[in-house]
Symmetry: C2
Subunit: 146 residues, 2 copies
Amino acid sequence: MQVRFASALDQILELSVLLNDDMARDLERRGLTRSRVHVLWLVHHHGPMTQRALADAINVSARNVTGLVDGLAHTGFITREPHPSDRRATLVTLTDRGTATALNLEREHGQFARMLFGDMPGHQFDGFTTGLDHVLTALRKATASI
Amino acid sequence: MQVRFASALDQILELSVLLNDDMARDLERRGLTRSRVHVLWLVHHHGPMTQRALADAINVSARNVTGLVDGLAHTGFITREPHPSDRRATLVTLTDRGTATALNLEREHGQFARMLFGDMPGHQFDGFTTGLDHVLTALRKATASI
DNA sequence: TATTGTTATACTCTATAACTATA
DNA sequence: TATAGTTATAGAGTATAACAATA
């Protein structure tokens, strides 16, 4: 059983690498990276946010957010707008292009999921997600206790 | 169903992030990174290798391997040995510490897998790995065709 | 001529620390 | 005094291009 456990973990890791590489390749075509998309995603879902809020959400330093926002602003996905009541802060806001890109990513995310699971028998898909839930719960617990 | 597919993909991605963060934290304690461990791992399993072979195995530039090997050599996990028949090449070789570390990582990999799957009912584990196989196959096919 | 690995240069993500402008 | 974001500095991973030594 030990071996089967280790193999399953290896498979998850391979899956993780393949997914990561595949997404990175896709994003690169549009001049994006995973980290920058994370910002795009958050602003798309929460609306205009301060850099501080972004840093807390991504769990990254304020300095890092400055760099990510610089990159996204420079490539036209977002703008920095003044905060209406706090002159220290800026509101990271999506441009039209940023919004369109976020919507596209959302759509492609769904297409990608269909490609992965679409031809899987229903009971198999259910079994997979049940196991996935279990693993995720175990891992969340282990991670939280650190 | 669309939504269930997308949620399952989200779960896989969350799993991927948690695993990655957890491993990175662990490795950092020993002065290692994912990329460097990849090198350590390959040399541990294949025996002494040229940097060219490492670059091909990791799918990374020769320049990048120089940096990774520099780091691992500097921290005492590997040494560069002369190639017996090709004076252009070097053989990346594990030190005792490098070998001991690789063996430890291997052991902890098994422990980690047991933590993730150990308390999962047998049939559930089977269902999970079956689905995982399916997803991995679909993804490998999609990735290969690029 | 082709290959191995290095130096030179550059970009991205990440961090801490010091500093400015505001709260 | 505390907070938001910047500049300064640094390390890691990644890339291409030019180059030296060797095949």
